[in-house]
């Protein structure tokens, strides 16, 4: 338009001047032509021409500026649009080169439930979760230093829960290469990573060599069987969904199982273990309660084939029983023969012969004790000690142990002193094994006491434990022996009376027996003054056993 306008001015000015000139010159009216003042007319034409040209130039310039403005305007619009799109899509955080947060977008604050004011100005590091799946500190430092980085970052939301952000960090530099700030673009991958993880876990579950099944705690109906379980039973998903756990475990009634799962709760007992058979194969079952999506309690059971373990157990048992037999049979003969001779069954013997037979018999006893101790220890260590758990008043237990050992101690010239407390001191345990513990401690105390000394025995309640103390006034235990005192075959070098009676396994057995009772043994000792051993046993609960006895193998 403007160009047209410019051109028209040029045309009008130019043509009118030129027309006049031609008209005057062609002579129709020279006088008029002369009177018209030709140079003036020429001047006017040139002026119009120039004015037209200027106008065109101006118009064109104006047009260019406008165009450029339009382009810039468009670009700005696009930028804003892109930023808006990014804002909508991703979380955006900018930090200064030190990692201090300069700005955060709405997405970021919304996902993490923060207000912008709460986090702006803080170091970005303060928002990171303590446990990262991969070390990210170095990467973030590099990003601050100038490298582009991307990876997963665990960020804490306002409640402290972890969110997984897939993050790209882009450092921004000025024309001189100075690091101005870093922009972090992040997408919330928490859900996706979780579902990926869940998928992976399900895959693991599928591939586990153990049978894994999920069933309803009340109806026992199966809702999941992993690969191993499906393979064992050869059922499809449609089939097993119609079955119950009772179809899996041999000889277990619905009532049995519901009683077991019914005892489970989210608060207290979440797990129960028992042995069962599945398809004739001995299995170890671990049942754990889980909360299903619809809020009905489900249980997950892991069945582990223990047939090999059972076989190993059997062979160990038969080995132990064979050893027992093979060692005891010759000892029976030797001891029996010596006893018959000593008793004079085959005629009266000389005192010298009798004394030699006495040595033989004493050493038979010693060997037998050693055999017994080794067998005991073997069973204790394999966790196969036969135990009859009953409620025991430790006051009576101590009295019984003292009665059993009094004669032996008297032989060494040592006396026991014990005053029973007034109140019952109840524990749940195996009477025979606990007597064995006390017998060991009492005979040790007697052995290491001087003739004429008294061993003090006490029973008391300490917190939730019953404490039995056995205090001697012997030589005490040297410091270098403390650490190994309860180990096998470690005897103090101290002279003890009747040392022949010890096998070096006594305290090891004491500790092992107490361990299977959830108890402990420790000692206080002072060289030259004596040693006190303390046996701690958990106090019996109010109602658990209540007098009835329970037989079990120590696990």
């Amino acid at each position: 338009m403007s160009r047209l306008f410019g051109f028209s001015i040029i045309s009008i000015g130019g043509l009118s001047g030129f027309g006049y000139l031609i008209f005057a010159m062609t002579g129709s009216d020279w006088a008029l032509a002369a009177s018209l003042n030709v140079p003036q007319m020429l001047q006017a034409s040139v002026f119009f021409l120039l004015a037209g040209l200027l106008l065109i130039a101006y118009r064109r310039g104006l047009e260019t500026v406008r165009l450029r403005e339009k382009i810039i305007e468009g670009q700005e619009l696009e930028l804003a649009f892109r930023e808006q799109a990014l804002d909508k899509h991703a979380m955006v955080v900018t930090t200064d080169p030190k990692g201090q947060i300069l700005s955060v977008n709405r997405n970021f604050t919304e996902v993490l439930a923060y207000r912008p004011a709460e986090i702006e100005g803080k170091p970005l590091r303060s928002l990171l979760h303590k446990e990262q799946d991969a070390p990210i500190e170095d990467s973030l430092r590099r990003a601050r230093a100038g490298d582009i980085w991307n990876g997963d970052v665990k960020v804490m939301n306002r409640k402290g829960a972890a969110c997984i952000f897939h993050t790209t960090a882009i450092p921004m530099h000025d024309a001189f290469g100075r690091h101005l700030k870093t922009i972090y673009l992040a997408t919330d991958m928490t859900e996706q990573r979780r579902s990926e993880r869940e998928k992976q876990l399900t895959r693991c579950l599928e591939l586990l060599p153990e049978d894994v099944l999920i069933f309803d705690a009340k109806t026992l109906r199966l809702s999941y069987m992993n690969g191993a379980a499906v393979k064992r039973h050869g059922w499809s998903e449609a089939t097993y969904r119609r079955r119950k756990l009772t179809d899996i475990l041999d000889n277990m009634t619905e009532a049995d199982l519901v009683a077991r799962t019914g005892a489970l709760s989210h608060e207290t007992e979440t797990t129960t273990r028992f042995e069962a058979c599945s398809g004739g194969i001995p299995m170890n079952a671990t049942v754990q309660i889980i909360e299903a999506e619809d809020r009905r309690d489900s249980c997950i059971v892991v069945l582990r084939d223990i047939s090999e373990q059972k076989m190993a157990e059997e062979s160990r048992k038969s080995f132990v029983s064979m050893m027992t037999h093979e060692l005891r049979t010759p000892l029976t003969s030797i001891k029996g023969a010596v006893q018959l001779l000593t008793a004079g069954t085959l005629g009266k013997l000389e005192p010298g012969v009798l004394s030699m037979l006495g040595i033989a018999e004493k050493n038979c006893e010693r060997l037998l004790r050693l055999v017994n101790d080794i067998l005991d220890l073997n069973k204790l260590e394999a966790g196969k000690m036969d135990m009859t758990i009953e409620r025991i008043d430790t006051r009576d237990l101590v009295s019984e142990a003292i009665l059993n050992d009094r004669e032996y101690a008297a032989g060494l010239g040592v006396d026991f002193h014990y005053e029973a407390p007034e109140l019952p001191m109840l524990v749940d345990g195996d009477r025979g094994r606990l007597l064995q513990v006390l017998a060991n401690l009492l005979s040790n105390a007697a052995k290491y006491s001087d003739e004429g000394a008294t061993v003090e025995i006490g029973v008391s309640a300490v917190d939730h434990n019953i404490c039995i103390s056995v205090a001697d006034s012997g030589p005490g235990i040297p410091e270098e022996a403390h650490a190994t005192l309860f180990d096998s075959f470690t005897q103090s070098d101290l002279p003890a009376q009747g040392k022949i009676n010890s096998t070096g396994l006594g305290l090891t057995i004491v500790r092992a027996i107490l361990e299977i009772h959830d108890g402990t043994v420790h000692f206080d000792t002072k060289l030259g003054e004596g040693t006190t051993f303390y046996v701690m046993l958990p106090m019996a609960g109010e109602d658990e056993l209540g007098g009835r006895s329970e037989r079990r193998q120590a696990a």
Partner: protein
């Protein structure tokens, strides 16, 4: 058969006299023999294994069986089970001698066979008295 039962009844009223002892170890047999005969004054029949004990039981008609548990061939458990099938020995006191493996095993022997258990090594001097008191307990 009725003869045997009569003998058992008679002896129940009197004293423990005849003991059938089964044991595979010759040395232990020798010691037991000395203990039972010389110290205890019993009349005994000794067998090398369980099968022999079962075979000779009727002929000997013992007042009591003293049985080793672990024997080659027919062991103590099997032979006592076999003997208990015979009405003549259904109530005859049985004493197992065992190198005890565990309390549970001992309890099981006692309850399975209505028997008593003496553990190895036994004391040959007091063995006769032990058997007499077991026999008295069974007779009353």
């Amino acid at each position: 058969m009725s003869n045997v039962i009569n003998i058992r009844k008679l002896s129940a009223m009197s004293e423990l006299k005849k003991i059938l002892h089964a044991e595979d170890d010759p040395d232990i047999r020798e010691i037991a023999k000395m203990s039972l005969e010389m110290v205890g004054g019993f009349e005994i029949l000794q067998c090398h294994d369980g099968a022999e004990a079962v075979d000779s039981a009727e002929g000997f008609a013992p007042d009591m069986f003293l049985m080793d548990v672990m024997m080659p061939g027919m062991d103590g458990r099997e032979s006592v089970a076999k003997l208990r099938e015979n009405a003549a020995f259904a109530n005859t006191p049985v004493v197992f001698v065992t190198a005890k493996a565990s309390n549970l095993d001992v309890e099981k022997l006692k309850s399975d066979f209505n028997a008593d258990v003496i553990t190895k090594p036994f004391d040959p001097i007091s063995l006769p008295d032990q058997l007499r008191s077991i026999w008295k307990g069974a007779a009353t």
